[in-house]
């Protein structure tokens, strides 16, 4: 997993509450056997005017120019600004995979849905919770400043931009994992010696669990 230390990027405003994972990545794309390849279908039903399906060439689709991701000024966006309860609905991890593959490193919102929150953490996508007034201030700044960008500094727990400064909370364990780019597997691997020692003792106690020669 890519570590998250500090990131500066263009902010994309998505001014809707309760954006669910069905909107983030529609169900027809879940038939895929890959963890990658979802970036082109992020917000598929909003981003394109035709109905998307697995294997379609994005360059041949009809673009919805009214959707914020398609505006040229947000083409390089890497920080998503959203409203309440972002990521609600189904537990599909594909939603996080799609956001990350598109190029988002961070989502800022007043609140996030539970499972989405866990899935984001597992994939190194930083979710920042800010109070409503600060979210409003960011939306106004975006409305008036073209190319508005922010620097999200995880170590200092700060967000800074043109005339905008805020601090945010994050649990120490979650912060550490993100800073080190440590995924759950990597974290468990740190206990590899303990697992090996346990396994050896377990093999003594319950040898029938192990199938030799397979």
């Amino acid at each position: 997993m890519e570590p998250f230390v500090s990131h500066t990027g263009v902010v994309v405003p998505l001014d809707r509450a309760n954006v669910d994972t069905d909107q983030i990545i529609p169900k027809q794309f879940l038939k895929s056997i890959r963890r990658t390849g979802f970036g082109d279908n992020l917000f598929d039903a909003w981003r394109y005017l035709d109905e998307g399906d697995i294997g379609m060439n994005a360059n041949e689709r009809r673009i919805n120019h009214d959707f914020v991701l398609n505006a040229p000024r947000f083409a390089d966006g890497s920080i998503l600004l959203a409203r309440d309860n972002f990521g609600c609905g189904s537990s599909r991890e594909h939603a996080v995979w799609a956001l990350a593959e598109y190029g988002f490193r961070c989502v800022i919102a007043p609140s996030f849905a539970d499972i989405f929150f866990t899935n984001a953490q597992k994939n190194g996508l930083l979710l920042v919770v800010l109070p409503e007034p600060q979210i409003d201030a960011l939306f106004s700044a975006l409305a008036t400043t073209v190319g508005f960008s922010l620097t999200v500094d995880l170590r200092g727990q700060r967000i800074d931009g043109d005339a905008f400064h805020a601090t945010f909370d994050i649990e120490p364990e979650r912060k550490r994992l993100l800073l080190e780019g440590m995924d759950d597997i990597g974290l468990t691997m740190r206990h590899a010696d303990a697992i090996r020692a346990f396994e050896a003792a377990h093999r003594e106690r319950q040898p029938w669990v192990f199938r030799e020669g397979v």
Binding site: R35, E93, K122, H191, Q206
Partner: protein
């Protein structure tokens, strides 16, 4: 030391370490894999340059979207290209990572939760996981078994461990004898009806009492299978002679001196007399009648002698709304006797009721009878190739076919309709599977969950019927 439950004992025997955040790293003995939830996990493993921690812990088989006809054609017999890709991918991944797989044409292939126990890959005291929520089935063997997500599948492949928070202990005690024509399916549906679909949330459920002790292993698997429908991640039954007898002689089970050692250990897998449970529920099994669900959640269930309820019957406004939505989706009128509700299709199979006893129970009802002319299709889908073989050796297939059933090849089939076996819009099914959610068995399809004997009775009558009168 305070008394421990079966769950406590298995947990303690597998706790590797505690993390700084208080979560436990739990060692996993057995990992079952299938084609739908494993591809991204294998991809992740490959991208990170990792290898499976312990190959022999894993066992794979395609089950969710394999066709139930023309099995001899193998993968070439799968028409849907997306489904075929998933099965081919499982094949490739198993070869690449040297994981044992029962391929589509292997007689041992079947639904993961049927083949694990059948092979003795499921043993008492084990921790068992699979990327499928009905992994709770294996708890019938006093194993700690539950479903996991795709990231966790990768985590188990890579580390042989899972990061877990311990659940609370719950005990459901069913005393008294189940009546004639009443099965483990009726017992679990009655339990879910009583405690609700969130009744066991956050708990590991141990089933006990004389009714449970009297159940066969197949029946205990049916019981534990649907623990997840009551919100419990895991369900367990303590070890007794029934458990030991079932496991003995299975291909993956230990033999000789090792068997003796194992048996001694397994016999200790019962809750101590002074163990305490956070929650206990008691039921009189002798009062349970054959059950049939009427709504779009397993807790919306009735005795076959009852009538469809009205929304006013529920005090809780949320329940009332659920009832209204269910009546609408299921196209049922309050006050209708369940025995007056006609069925279009009948499905006998799935990880809940796809074992040999299930087909015996249904065949006993079907013997000498015919499926009603009004029923469009009646499907019998064995849970594994070996279940199919056994049923055929007993002549059950002949009874099913003579009655007018389709006798199919093993797989999940109409349980979730990822292959061609499905309900068409507004069709009504009597199904022995475990979920009656909207669209579960096909877009706008209507599912009523019942036992195998009750499904057979509905097939013959053309509507739901009380199997005790057959």
């Amino acid at each position: 030391m305070a008394g421990r439950t079966v769950y406590d004992k298995i947990w303690d025997a597998h706790a590797v370490a505690e993390r700084d955040d208080g979560l436990t790293i739990l060692y996993i003995d057995r990992h079952l894999l299938h084609e739908v939830t494993s591809p991204q996990a294998f991809e992740g493993l490959a991208l990170a340059g990792r290898q499976p921690w312990r190959r022999d812990a894993n066992l794979a088989t395609p089950d969710h979207n394999v066709p139930t006809t023309n099995r001899a054609a193998g993968i070439d017999g799968i028409d849907d290209p997306v489904a075929r890709t998933q099965v081919v991918t499982l094949d490739e991944n198993c070869k690449r990572f040297a994981i044992e797989q029962f391929e589509m044409t292997d007689v041992r292939q079947g639904i993961v939760h049927v083949i694990g126990p059948e092979q003795g890959a499921t043993l008492p005291g084990m921790t068992i996981v699979c990327g499928d929520s009905h992994t709770s089935t294996h708890g019938a063997f006093a194993a700690l078994a539950h479903g996991i997500g795709t990231s966790e599948v990768e985590h188990v492949l890579a580390t042989q461990c899972l990061v877990q928070r311990k659940s609370r202990n719950m005990r459901i005690v069913a005393d008294g004898d189940l009546g004639a024509g009443v099965s483990a399916k009726d017992l679990i549906l009655a339990i879910i009806g009583a405690i609700g679909t969130a009744g066991a949330t956050g708990h590991a459920v141990e089933y006990g009492g004389s009714a449970v002790r009297g159940l066969s292993m197949e029946a205990r698997m049916t019981l534990c299978n649907m623990s997840v429908e009551a919100g419990g991640r895991a369900g367990l039954v303590a070890v007794d002679d029934t458990t030991i007898d079932y496991v003995h002689g299975r291909p993956f089970a230990p033999v000789g001196a090792l068997w003796d050692r194992a048996e001694e250990y397994w016999r200790g897998l019962k809750s101590d007399a002074d163990a305490s449970f956070d929650r206990e529920v008691h039921l009189d099994a002798s009062r349970i009648v054959p059950q049939v669900t009427w709504g779009t959640s397993p807790e919306l269930v009735l005795g076959i002698d009852e009538a469809v309820p009205a929304p006013e019957a529920f005090d809780d406004p949320a329940k009332r709304e659920l009832c209204e939505r269910a009546l609408d989706y299921m196209d049922l009128v309050p006050g209708t006797a369940m025995t007056d509700v006609a069925v279009d299709r009948v499905f006998i199979g799935s990880c809940t009721n796809g074992r040999i006893e299930d087909f015996r129970a249904a065949a006993a009802v079907l013997d000498g009878r015919k499926v009603a002319g009004s029923v469009t299709q009646a499907l019998a889908v064995p849970g594994s190739g070996l279940v199919k073989q056994q049923a055929e050796a007993e002549g059950l297939d002949a009874i099913f076919k003579a009655a007018g059933f389709d006798w199919r090849d093993p797989g999940c089939s109409m349980c979730l309709a990822m292959n061609d076996d499905r309900l068409y819009p507004r069709e009504r099914a009597a199904a022995t599977s475990n979920r009656n959610f909207e669209g579960r068995q096909g877009y706008l399809g209507r599912t009523h969950l019942v036992s195998p004997a009750m499904a057979a009775a509905a097939a013959v009558a053309g509507h739901f019927a009380d199997v005790r009168e057959f």
